[in-house]
């Protein structure tokens, strides 16, 4: 790492109407460093990155590249200046092959008249050699959200850039893929490329980054060398207070109830998963672990009758459910929080309040089915406050929110119906530490109230921290179960990658 | 005392698809008659093929309290109520080229579609004998075109049962559709001798198809466009039957004007007691011209309009 500054930002401000997203921000990026950005949801991180990439124009302030003031008018301009960007929200062309998506920018910049699909596919294979085993010739619309994220990353890695911005690239990745990414990042940095890395996972920042800048409420708070500080310091600077314990207390062994909230027997789906049986006791938080594409999401959706044709039995609070579709599941009190918030979690162009009411608009309506605007707002305000949602007005469209705040809206939507059982697929994806703690506390208290909680997460520490018991899924089957002292990253990883012969899963509950 | 308009007495001619060139000579006749009586005229209607819009434009005409309206009602019955209301409020209504027979309109000016059809049939027989194959294009839904075709078919089957109808396609005045239909008909019937087409737009496409197939078909159609005129000159089209538009407009004005000045007329009937307008003209035939190679030169609308005001 050298000290010469490649990118310098001074006194940058940006407002969206009444919302002041950035207020006089200063920031500098040095050659060959990996510079982490931390800050609560809505602190202005993505906004700053969008400005650096020319997607947004600042209201005031200066950007200097190599010491020279520049105006970055568009992503195209940013590209010619050597700035590459992996967006927080996946932006891929669904109707186009993976290979073409990866080399879209290259195609755009090239002077070649004709496409060379063969070399494109070949080069895409090369890129993926390190990263994953996605077939470059499939259409992006057929990929799962995590694989799409990998494509986004692959896309950035092919850019010939000097500054690489990664905005929460690991939010949907598991440890394995994330580690590969960190390896590549380090190689790039060693070649003199500067990387801005945004993440809410402190571990990642402290394991992989050189410096960290903290933002709060649109202001730059501090920049430190990572080696000089502790995660606690960063969190403190971000939130303005000490969070204490990140994970709530687990369920004491003594209090374990025999009462079953959920029992799933022999759930099968021809292509996606097989012979899935498990149960969830009252007061317990259950986790699903597994690699990308293991089938965790599919199982949850199968239980809720959300997708696919599923055979098997589902019992909720001792009652056999016969669900025709997800509506029935909601009516029975069983809901599923989607992992793809932009694709199927929120209605981007509708108001926050309307989003939160979507599961059961009847709840905010009077007896003859008329929606009461004030009830709708009140419901949203209560849940919003509970989740520390940051917004200008509850009437704003969700698209005006920062990524993490959008996630909170999706979560609030689930909580709005007072469910009996919630599947949470990547519940804290993109959510800041402070809110994360809050969400974990909420989950625990819901569990204590008897609500069934099943968490699917790619972030192992989260699973370990929150869950009382974790099921490990591998290729559509439950490969094993860990709990108590057995619950270690190591054990789970082995089960998840199939390197350990499957231990007997939860014995079939006697029917 | 001669009959003439009071100052500000205005007569309106209201049509549908007002951009269609058919109306131009009609309106010229209307205007010429109006000038002779010192009357003002307005050309009005809707540019669209839309009954609701035509009714709206008709009702808006009435806001101007005209003495009379010469109306081409797009459909008969929808205009009954508006026409009757107009007459009640003192505006006389005469229809032309299409009628609203159940309304109280005082007159109806039209060319005789039956006569046109009969003429065409006889013309074919004269050239081809009584035993030939023929086809028609048509435009279902448009009453005068419909009549031209059905009358022709009725006449043929009644008088010349040996002639054979081998093709009957709807092309709705679209030359490309007419091209396609005619091409197929000519394919399916290599012996085809004659075609009768109720309007000129389809005729353009039909002739193109016949020329391309190098078929020997005798074509006749109603109305005329510059292109079909050229085809007539070149001998590709045998003849066109064109309603006498000038007479239609001229007589149309006369009928409307007389209806508005009915006080000069005191006929031997019950009109005074029953309270209807005495100038009742059930039907005026404005006649039609047969356009052939010989007289085609005189039917160039652009030449006719040279130096005339279209509005």
């Amino acid at each position: 790492m050298t000290d010469d500054v490649i990118l310098e930002i001074s006194d940058l401000s940006k407002s969206f109407g009444p919302v002041r997203a950035l207020r006089g921000v200063n920031f500098e990026l040095r050659r060959g460093e990996i510079h982490a950005l931390a800050g609560e949801n809505g602190a202005g991180k993505s906004t700053l990155m969008n400005i650096i990439d020319g997607i947004l124009q600042p209201d005031s302030g200066e950007i200097r590249l190599d010491g020279k003031p520049v105006r970055i008018a568009s992503p195209a301009a940013a590209q010619t200046m050597g700035i590459g960007f992996v967006h927080q929200e996946i932006a891929l062309c669904p109707d186009v092959s993976v290979a073409e998506n990866i080399f879209m920018a290259t195609t755009n910049a090239s002077r070649a008249l004709l496409m060379d699909y063969h070399s494109l596919t070949q080069r895409a294979h090369d890129v993926f050699a390190k990263l994953s085993d996605i077939d470059p010739s499939v259409l992006v619309r057929d990929l799962s959200i995590s694989n799409q994220q990998l494509v986004e990353i692959a896309k950035a890695l092919t850019l010939d850039c000097r500054v690489l911005i990664l905005d929460e690239p690991t939010a949907a990745l598991t440890e394995t893929e994330a580690q590969v990414l960190f390896g590549i990042m380090r190689q790039l940095a060693d070649r003199g490329i500067s990387i801005i890395y945004i993440s809410h996972r402190m571990v990642e920042i402290f394991d992989n980054c050189d410096r960290v800048s903290v933002f709060r409420d649109g202001r730059h708070v501090t920049t430190e060398i990572v080696a000089d500080i502790t995660p606690g310091d960063v969190v403190n600077a971000m939130v303005g207070r000490d969070l204490g314990d990140i994970y709530p207390e687990k369920q004491p062994l003594s209090e374990q109830s025999e009462q079953e909230v959920l029992r799933v027997v022999d759930l099968n789906e021809t292509h996606r998963f097989h012979d899935v049986s498990f149960c969830l006791k009252q007061g317990e938080i259950l986790g699903f672990a597994g690699l990308i594409g293991a089938g965790r999401s599919e199982i949850a959706k199968g239980v809720c009758a959300l997708e696919g044709t599923v055979t098997g039995e589902v019992w909720l609070n001792g009652e056999r459910l016969r669900l025709r579709d997800y509506q029935d599941s909601i009516n029975a009190g069983m809901v599923y929080l989607s992992e793809d918030r932009k694709g199927d979690g929120v209605f981007l162009d509708m108001s926050i309040a309307a989003n939160i009411a979507a599961l059961k608009p009847e709840q905010v309506a009077n007896r003859i089915g008329l929606i009461q605007a004030d009830q709708e707002e009140t419901q949203a305000a209560i849940l919003g406050r509970k989740l520390n949602l940051k917004c200008a007005s509850l009437g704003d469209p969700v698209s005006a929110l920062s990524g993490g705040n959008q996630q909170k809206v999706a979560l609030a939507k689930m909580l709005s119906v007072n469910p009996r059982l919630i599947f949470l697929d990547e519940p804290t994806r993109g959510v800041d530490v402070g809110a994360k703690v809050e969400i974990h506390r909420i989950l625990r208290s819901l569990a204590n109230e008897g609500v069934g909680i099943i968490v699917i997460s790619s972030e192992l520490p989260e699973l370990l921290g929150v869950c009382d018991r974790v099921l490990v899924i591998h290729e559509g089957r439950i490969r094993g179960e860990v709990s108590g002292a057995d619950m270690t990253e190591n054990k789970i990883m082995h089960l998840a990658s199939g390197t350990v012969p499957g231990v007997a899963a939860t014995p079939h509950p006697a029917v | 005392e001669t009959l003439a308009c009071e100052p500000g007495e205005v007569y309106i001619m209201n049509v549908m698809v007002s951009g269609h060139p058919y109306w131009i000579p009609v309106y010229q006749g209307f205007k010429q008659a109006a000038e002779a009586f010192g009357c003002d005229t307005i050309f009005s209607g809707t540019p669209d093929y839309d009954i609701t819009k035509q009714i709206a434009s008709f009702e808006q005409d009435l806001v101007k309290s005209p003495a009379g309206v010469l109306l081409h009602p797009m459909q008969a019955d929808p205009f009954i109520e508006p026409i009757n209301r107009a007459i009640e409020n003192g505006t006389e209504i005469v229809t032309f080229a299409a009628d609203s027979p159940n309304s109280n309109r005082t007159g109806y000016i039209t060319s005789d579609n039956l006569a046109e059809a009969k003429f065409a049939a006889e013309e074919f027989v004269k050239a081809l004998g009584e035993d030939f194959e023929f086809a028609v294009l048509e435009n279902p839904g448009q009453s005068n075109h419909d009549l031209r075709v059905t009358a022709f078919l009725d006449y043929m089957s009644a008088h010349y049962p040996d002639a054979k109808l081998v093709g009957r396609q709807a092309t709705n005045q679209d030359s490309n559709a007419a091209y396609r239909a005619t091409a197929s008909i000519v394919q399916a019937n290599p012996e085809l001798d004659a075609m009768w087409i109720p309007e000129a737009g389809s005729a353009e496409g039909a002739v193109a198809a016949i020329l391309e197939a190098k078929a020997d078909v005798m074509v006749m159609h109603a109305d005329v466009t510059p292109t079909t005129l050229e085809h007539i000159k070149a001998g590709n089209i045998h003849a066109a039957l064109n309603p006498n538009q000038g007479m239609q407009g001229f007589m149309g004005f006369m009928a409307t004007f007389m209806a508005a000045h009915s006080e000069v007329f005191d006929p031997f009937n019950d009109y005074k007691v029953s309270g209807y307008n005495p100038v009742q003209i059930p039907f005026v035939d404005n006649g039609f011209s047969v356009i052939t190679k010989e007289n085609a030169e005189s039917f160039d609308l652009n030449a006719y309009m040279e130096g005339r005001d279209p509005s």
Partner: protein
Amino acid sequence: MDNTLNMAETKQAEHAAPLFKRLIRMRETGLILIILALFVTMSFASPYFLTWVNVRAMTMAFAVEGIVVVGMTVLLISGGIDLSVGSVTALSMVIAGWLFLNGIDPWVASGLSILACTAIGAFMGFFTTRIGLHHFIVSLAVMVIARGACLLGTGGRPLGLYTLPPEFKFIGQGSIGPIPVVIIIFVVVVIAFDFMLRRTTMFRKVFYTGSNEKAAAYSGIRTKKVVFLTTTLCSALCGVAGIIYMARFGSAQPTFGLGMELNVIAAAVIGGASLNGGSGSIFGAILGAVLLSVVSSSLALLDVSVYWQDIIRGSILLTAVTIDHYLNKKRR
């Protein structure tokens, strides 16, 4: 915290000048201003413009089509589109007229006809939601089929129905006081649907579905059912419109409504409906219809040359939409 504070502020501001604020924030305000401007200009340009007869004629010109606009708007919001509205409206007239001429009571005939149109909508709904074809292509095919059925049922000639009983014709030709029944029906339908669309949970699901069908499905909404129902509703309203037209015209015209689809969709889009679904309002769509209709009517009233009318009409449309766009941009 920031958000609580901000929220409180907004609340307060709303209370300070609630009506004015709400008006400014309304999507439709721009259109209203444009239409007002048009009215003011026109009443200077022509002394006849603001007469009752003219206003009545202008309203009658779009009132029945307005009912179709309502159906189309709901369908557009749910993410669909329907090109068959013109022919289905015509078919509604033809079926009812044909039944009437065959001795069936006109009210019963009308009911059956509306039912038939509803069935056509259900048919389209089936193809779009169950088979998964695009609305555009399904409704295009149905547009052609329904027009063919009109021709078949009438032999291409309008059915004269002046023998309809006067109490039936009253729907289309009568007035209550000075106000035509047609306009009353139109206003009732518009207000009812505008209210329902804004307020009922049922119609809220239409917005969710159109905004993001997948997210709606993930919210437990039976999106296929929603789209099926909006498709059916649109055709049913075409059926209703056809009956009113029949009563108004005293005839059933097989060629009625050619090109109506573009007009109706344009009205909804001018009024803020998105062709991608998820947004739109009945009130806005009706304002769109008003704008289109008033422009046409004004040109007719001013005796503008036919050869200029289309050019002016198109230009006004483009200008109005542009102004509306800018007004909305500012307001945001």
